[in-house]
Subunit: 202 residues, 2 copies
């Protein structure tokens, strides 16, 4: 029986899912053709049709991570500080799905830092994310939800806070439950929402 | 000529330095017996005397990271919020040495998240670091440098902020220069130092 386009697509989806599962449980250091083959209950021979080598597998995995992150469901943005809060909540590992995605991102940093092109690509990605946050900070300032101050700076601050919280929650999910993560984020937003007193000249 | 204890110690130091250099430039994903041997201009055969397998090399590397972190020079603590600031500045990649250490820590997260025992060990390590920060937060509250509030919570917040800033600075050192990192940290400390207004009941 001839193989149809549908078969081919279904097989590609299976391969993607297997790559994802391996990354979510073993990280990039555990991402091998053998591990993906085992997850698929297939032979490594079959996989070399998709990935001629380890590098092709890693590139595919990074693209898959990007694609799933871009297409994840997002909270409705709302206005002012609500829109900023929504963007930050979307980044936290509050569900099984977002925990997997974050775990894979963190695990990819080792690879990303050891390859100059990837380091640049990651730096651009984070700069892009910071630009989105900056726009939301500026909109919140317009509405008076946030005090004046360089929105680029404030965005860099909240991005740092959330990234670090992601890392802590991945290592200690019982200490950083979803409700505690949200509480910590709320306190951070409350802190930056308070107008800073004028500098004491002394 | 018989080899002396001094030779042996000197060789151990060379091996440690080679392992460190490989981790700092290639991360844990690039840490192989071959890479360490190349760095040492030695044979992998010689290295198997020190590391019978990859796992032994990784364990050694993690111990070395821990040891170098524990023995790093630290800023004098000072009192109140100064002591908190000093602890946080000690964590940032502000010099070549602390950039390497941080880069190796971040790179080790992939390994650490894929091994449950290591995940627990890392969670304990971060909890320990949080406990130190909590004590400094509490001391700063005693002196009136920080407003009241759960010191454990405030410590978790500053730890998240600094960890995320470390990651950003590693990916984009030109955007997150040492002076910008310090500026962002100062703004964060200023934000948490401001007393929060009473909750609006509405």
């Amino acid at each position: 029986m001839a193989r149809t386009k549908g078969d081919h697509e279904a097989r590609r989806r299976d391969v993607s899912e297997a790559v994802w599962q391996v990354m979510a449980t073993r990280g990039f250091s555990g991402l091998t053709l053998r591990a993906v083959a085992d997850q698929l209950r297939a032979t490594t021979g079959l996989l070399t049709h998709y990935f001629p080598n380890k590098r092709a597998l890693v590139t595919y995995a990074l693209d898959l991570l990007e694609e799933r992150t871009a297409s994840r469901p997002r909270r409705p943005a709302g206005e002012g500080i609500e829109a900023l809060r929504a963007a930050l909540l979307d980044m936290l590992p509050l569900t099984e799905e977002t925990t997997s995605t974050n775990r894979i991102w963190v695990s990819s940093w080792d690879q990303a830092l050891s390859d100059p092109d990837l380091t640049d690509a990651y730096a651009r990605k984070y700069a892009q994310s910071r630009a989105t946050l900056r726009d939301r900070v500026a909109a919140a300032q317009e509405l008076g939800d946030l005090p004046p101050g360089d929105p680029e700076h404030i965005a860099a601050g909240v991005q740092s806070f959330v990234l670090g919280l992601v890392v802590q929650a991945l290592f200690a999910p019982s200490a950083f439950t979803p409700s505690r993560q949200i509480e910590l984020l709320e306190e951070h937003l409350a802190a930056i929402a308070v107008p800073r007193p004028l500098e004491d000249p002394h």
